[in-house]
C-alpha cells in the first residue's frame, strides 16, 4: 500500500538547486525559503496571535459578565473587540489556513520540492510580523475603535492614529495574502508530479485552488477600500465621508466584497483538511471525490456574489436585498454536498477516535450549526430582526471557531507527527478536544437566544434581563481559555520529548506520508510516482492502478 516509492537509506543527498544542507533551528527565525520552514513559521506566529486575540476575548467576556461597563472604559472596550476580530481573522485564521497548512502541505502533497516562488513565499510571511506588531503597538496611541468592519463615518472620527495604523496593518496583511495566493495557484497548477492529474490531487489542493482564486479576486478590492478610507482619514477627501458629499454605504459594499469571500478564504482550507482527515481515520475512500472538489469551486464562485447580505438593513433597495438573499441561500447547496459527503465517508467505516478525528467530527458538528443559522440569516425578514445582534455573533463564531479553529486543530494533530517527527500525546489531545468542544458550545450557544431576545452586538452595557445568559457565556469562555493549556503543554513537550514518529503513522496514501518525518529539506529523495488515488482505502491493488491509469 505504501511502497510506491523506494527510500534508499542513504544519508545526505545534497540539493543541487537550493544549497542549504541540514535543517538548523536558526532557520525558523530567519528569512528562509523552504516552504516547510515557512509553514511552521506561519503556524507558530499565528498561534501566538491566537493567544493575544483570545486574551482580548476573555477581557470582552469579563466586561460582559455584568450589565454595567465596569471593567474597562467603553472606548477601550470597543478597541478590544475591534482588535480581537482583526487579530483572529488576519493574524490567526487566515495565516494558519492559507499560510501554515497550504505552505507546508501543497508541495508535499503534489510531489514538488518547494513552492513555485520560494522567495516570494518568505516575503509574504515576513510581512505579517510587522503588521501584528503595529496592531498590538497601536494600543499605545489609542487603538481603532470602529469594529473590524471599520464603517465610516465612525472610523473617520474616532481614534484616528489607531485607525491609520489599523489600515496599514491590514494592507500589509492583504498584500501578504495576495502573494500567497499567487504562489499556491501556480504551484498547484504547474508543479504536480507528471503522473498526477487534477482529479488525482488530494482534495486539500482543490480547496486551495478555490481559496486562492478568492484571494486574488477579492483582496485587491479591500485594499482599494482601505486606501480610499485612508485618504478620507488622512487627506480629508470625501469618498465615504457624508459631510463632504461622500457615501458611507459605498464603503460597505467595497468592504464586504472582500470580507464575505474572506469567510470562505477562512473556511475552504479547512474543508480541504477535513476531506483529508476523515477518509484516513475512517479507513474509507472519500464519498464523492468529484462532488467535493467541484463544490469548492462552486462555493468560491457563489462566495463572490453574496456580499450584500451583510447590508440588509443598510440603505439597500428591495431588489438588492432579494437578489442577495437568493444567492446566499444557494450557497448552502454546495456546502451541504460536502457535509453529506463527509458523513457518508464515516458511515460504515472503521473510525479511530483519535485527536484529529475527534476535532474533525467536532468541526462537522459545530460547523453545521453555523451553516443552518447562516441560511436563517439569509432570509431577509428574519435578518432584519437579528442583524447586528448576538445571534450574528453566535453564528459567526460557529462558523469561524466551530469551523475554522476546529479545522486548525484537526490539521495540527493530523500532521504533527509529519512536521515535527514526533507523536503527540493522544490522552492530552482528547482532553483538549473535550474541553474545547464543551467550552465552545457553552460560550456561543446561548448567544443565539440573546440575539433573538433583543441584545445588540458590540455593546459594553446591556439591559439587566440579559445577565444570566451572558454569565453562562462568560464561564464558557473561561473554560475555552483553559482548554489551550493541555494543547500547549502537549505540543511543546512532545516537540522535544515525544515518541519518534514513523514516516506514515496513519497508513495514509497521499505523498506527504511517503517521505521521512520530518521531511528532508527538498522533500523527497526521489520524486514519488502516483500508484494509487489519494483515498483508495480498501481498494484492491489492481483497481488502484486502474484508477490512476483511468
Amino acid at each position: 500500500m505504501t511502497a510506491n516509492i523506494s527510500l534508499p537509506p542513504v544519508a545526505e543527498q545534497a540539493s543541487p538547486s537550493h544549497g542549504h544542507g541540514e535543517r538548523r533551528w536558526q532557520d525558523f527565525f530567519t528569512f528562509n525559503t523552504d516552504h516547510k520552514v515557512i509553514g511552521i513559521q506561519y503556524m507558530v506566529m499565528s498561534f501566538f496571535f491566537y493567544l493575544v486575540g483570545g486574551l482580548l476575548a476573555e477581557g470582552i467576556r469579563t466586561e460582559l459578565a455584568t450589565p454595567d461597563p465596569d471593567l474597562v472604559d467603553p472606548a477601550l472596550y470597543n478597541s478590544m473587540f475591534t482588535m480581537h476580530a482583526t487579530i483572529m481573522i488576519f493574524l490567526w485564521i487566515v495565516p494558519a489556513g492559507t499560510g501554515a497548512f497550504a505552505n507546508y502541505l501543497i508541495p508535499l502533497m503534489i510531489g514538488a520540492r518547494d513552492m513555485a516562488f520560494p522567495k516570494l513565499n518568505a516575503v509574504a510571511f515576513w510581512m505579517l510580523p510587522p503588521a501584528g506588531i503595529m496592531l498590538i503597538g497601536s494600543f499605545y496611541f489609542g487603538t481603532a475603535q470602529a469594529g473590524w468592519t471599520s464603517y465610516p463615518p465612525l472610523s473617520l472620527t474616532t481614534a484616528k492614529v489607531g485607525e491609520a495604523i489599523w489600515i496599514f496593518s491590514l494592507l500589509l496583511g492583504g498584500t501578504s495574502s495576495i502573494l500567497g495566493g499567487i504562489n499556491f495557484m501556480t504551484t498547484i497548477l504547474k508543479m504536480r508530479v507528471p503522473s498526477m492529474g487534477m482529479m488525482q490531487m488530494p482534495l486539500f489542493c482543490w480547496a486551495m485552488i478555490a481559496t486562492s482564486a478568492l484571494i486574488l479576486i477579492a483582496t485587491p478590492i479591500l485594499a482599494g477600500a482601505l486606501i480610499l478610507l485612508s485618504f478620507d482619514l488622512l487627506a480629508g477627501t470625501a469618498f465615504f465621508n457624508p459631510t463632504g458629499g461622500g457615501h458611507p454605504v459605498v464603503y460597505q459594499h467595497m468592504f464586504w466584497f472582500y470580507s464575505h469571500p474572506a469567510v470562505y478564504i477562512m473556511v475552504l482550507p479547512f474543508f480541504g483538511i477535513i476531506s483529508e482527515v476523515i477518509p484516513i481515520h475512517s479507513r474509507k475512500p472519500i464519498f464523492g471525490y468529484g462532488a467535493i472538489a467541484y463544490s469548492s469551486l462552486a462555493i468560491s464562485f457563489l462566495g463572490l456574489i453574496v456580499w450584500a447580505h451583510h447590508m440588509f438593513t443598510s440603505g439597500t433597495p428591495a431588489w438588492l436585498r432579494m437578489f442577495f438573499m437568493i444567492t446566499t441561500m444557494i450557497i448552502a447547496v454546495p456546502t451541504g454536498i460536502k457535509v453529506f459527503g463527509w458523513l457518508a465517508t464515516m458511515w460504515g467505516g472503521k473510525i479511530s477516535l483519535n485527536s484529529p478525528m475527534l476535532f474533525a467530527m467536532g468541526f462537522l458538528s459545530t460547523f453545521v450549526v453555523g451553516g443552518i443559522s447562516g441560511v436563517m440569516l439569509a432570509a431577509v425578514p428574519f435578518d432584519i430582526h437579528v442583524h447586528d445582534t448576538y445571534f450574528v455573533v453566535a453564528h459567526l463564531h460557529y462558523v469561524l471557531f466551530g469551523g475554522s479553529v476546529f479545522g486548525i486543530f484537526t490539521g495540527i494533530y493530523h500532521w504533527y507527527p509529519k512536521a515535527i517527527g514526533r507523536m503527540y500525546s493522544e490522552f492530552w489531545g482528547r482532553v483538549h478536544f473535550v474541553m474545547t468542544f464543551v467550552g465552545f458550545n457553552v460560550t456561543f450557544l446561548p448567544m443565539h437566544i440573546l440575539g433573538l431576545q433583543g441584545m445588540p452586538r458590540r455593546i459594553a452595557m446591556y439591559a439587566p434581563e440579559f445577565q444570566t445568559l451572558n454569565q453562562v457565556c462568560t464561564w464558557g469562555s473561561y473554560l475555552l481559555a483553559v482548554s489551550t493549556v493541555p494543547f500547549l503543554i502537549n505540543a511543546l513537550w512532545c516537540w522535544f520529548k515525544g515518541e519518534k514518529a514513523p514516516d506514515n503513522p496513519w497508513n495514509a496514501l497521499t505523498f506527504e506520508w511517503m517521505t521521512s518525518s520530518p521531511p528532508e529539506i527538498e522533500n523527497f529523495e526521489v520524486l514519488p510516482v502516483l500508484t494509487t488515488g489519494p483515498y483508495d482505502y480498501g481498494v484492491e491493488e489492481e483497481e488502484k492502478l486502474a484508477t490512476v491509469a483511468g
Binding site: 464523492g288 428591495a318 473510525i351 447586528d388
Partner: protein, 344 residues
C-alpha cells in the same frame, strides 16, 4: 430470530424526527413578544425555519454520534473499510433536497417581506433614491434640512404594507440618531421627544436620519431594524397592535456608549396618545418650549465635528430629561477622551 425490518425502523425514525422538529420549531419560544401583525409573520417564518433546522440538526448530529459509536475500529483491526467511492443517486438526492428547501424559504421570505411593506414602490426598491444625484445634494444641505420637505420622497427601508400602500400614515415621526440618543420629532404637532409615543392600531411612519455616524433603529418587538445614515433618508412603516412599552436600541456601532443608546417606544390607546400629545403641546405654549425647538433646530444645523462634544450634547440632555445621569457621565468621559485625542 426475526427482527423488525430496517425499512419499518427507518419509517418510524422519520416520523419521529418530523414530529419532534415540528414541535420544537413551533414551540421554541425564543422570540420576544410580537407587537405587530408583521412581527407575527416574521415569527411564522422563523418557526418554519427552526423546524427545518431542528430536523437537519438532529440528522447530522445523529449520524456523527451513531458513526462514532457503531463504526469504531475494533482493537487490532488494521484492515480498511468498504471501498465505497460514491453513489450518484444519493448525491443527487442530497443536492436536490437542500436546493428545494432553500428555494422554498426564499419564496416564503419574499412573501413575508412583501407583507411587511418591503416592496412599497414609494420605498425600498426605488433605485433613484439610492444612487441618484439627489443624494449628494441632500448630503450637502443635510444638516440644516427641513424634514418636511422630505415628505413623499422615497427612501430605502420598510415601506407601507400592501393594504395601506399609497395612503399617508396616520402618524409621521422624524427620527434623528445621534451619539448617543434618539430624537423623535412629530412634524404635525411639532413635538420633540426622547421617547417614541405611538397610538395602537394606527400606521406609523418613521423618517430616519443620522446626524453624525451610522446608527440603526431596532425595535425587537416589531422585528424591525433600519440603519440611519448621515446624508441619506431611510424609513420604517409599521402598525403596532399591542399596547405596551418596548425598547428601542441602537444596533449599529456608533461609539463608546453605543450600548446606552436605548430608549422606549410607548404604544398606547388613542385616548392616552391624544392626552400625551396635548400634554406636550400645552407647555410649549406656556413655557416657551418653542424657543427650545428652534434651539434644537439650530443645534442640528451645527457640524458636530467642529465643536466639543459636551457643548453640542448639552441641549439634548436638557431637552430630553431622560437619562441625564448617563449623559452627564458621557460628557465627562467624552471630555476626558477629547483631551487624550488632542494630546496624541
Amino acid at each position: 430470530m426475526t427482527s423488525i425490518p430496517n425499512s419499518i425502523l427507518t419509517l418510524f425514525a422519520g416520523i419521529l424526527l418530523t414530529v419532534v422538529s415540528l414541535w420544537y420549531g413551533y414551540n421554541n419560544g425564543l422570540m420576544p413578544v410580537a407587537a405587530s401583525e408583521e412581527a407575527t409573520h416574521v415569527d411564522a417564518l422563523f418557526n418554519a425555519m427552526m423546524a427545518i433546522a431542528t430536523g437537519l440538526f438532529i440528522i447530522v448530529q445523529g449520524v456523527i454520534v451513531y458513526s462514532a459509536i457503531m463504526f469504531r475500529r475494533k482493537k487490532g483491526d488494521t484492515t480498511d473499510g468498504p471501498a465505497i467511492e460514491g453513489n450518484i443517486p444519493l448525491e443527487i438526492f442530497w443536492t436536490a433536497i437542500p436546493a428545494a428547501i432553500v428555494l422554498w424559504i426564499s419564496i416564503y421570505s419574499f412573501e413575508i417581506y412583501g407583507e411587511m411593506g418591503g416592496f412599497d414602490p414609494s420605498a425600498a426598491n426605488d433605485m433613484h433614491a439610492m444612487h441618484g444625484g439627489k443624494n449628494s445634494a441632500m448630503a450637502a444641505e443635510m444638516p440644516g434640512m427641513d424634514m418636511k420637505s422630505l415628505e413623499g420622497m422615497t427612501a430605502s427601508g420598510i415601506g407601507a404594507s400592501p393594504a395601506s400602500q399609497g395612503k399617508e400614515a396616520a402618524v409621521n415621526v422624524n427620527v434623528t440618531g445621534l451619539q448617543y440618543a434618539w430624537i423623535f420629532n412629530y412634524p404635525n404637532t411639532n413635538i420633540t421627544a426622547g421617547e417614541l409615543h405611538v397610538p395602537v392600531n394606527q400606521e406609523v411612519k418613521l423618517i430616519l436620519k443620522a446626524n453624525d455616524v451610522l446608527h440603526a433603529l431596532w425595535i425587537p418587538q416589531l422585528r424591525l431594524k433600519q440603519d440611519t445614515i448621515p446624508g441619506e433618508i431611510t424609513q420604517l412603516r409599521f402598525t403596532s397592535n399591542k399596547v405596551g412599552t418596548y425598547p428601542i436600541r441602537c444596533a449599529e456601532l456608533c461609539g463608546g456608549y453605543h450600548g446606552s443608546m436605548v430608549t422606549n417606544m410607548i404604544v398606547e390607546t388613542q385616548e392616552n396618545y391624544d392626552a400625551w400629545v396635548a400634554s406636550q403641546i400645552q407647555p410649549a405654549e406656556t413655557t416657551g418650549s418653542a424657543v427650545m425647538q428652534s434651539t434644537l433646530a439650530s443645534i442640528e444645523s451645527m457640524n458636530p465635528a467642529t465643536m466639543p462634544t459636551h457643548e453640542y450634547l448639552a441641549p439634548y440632555a436638557r431637552e430630553m430629561g431622560v437619562r441625564t445621569e448617563m449623559l452627564a457621565k458621557l460628557v465627562r468621559d467624552q471630555q476626558a477622551k477629547n483631551h487624550i485625542h488632542l494630546d496624541s
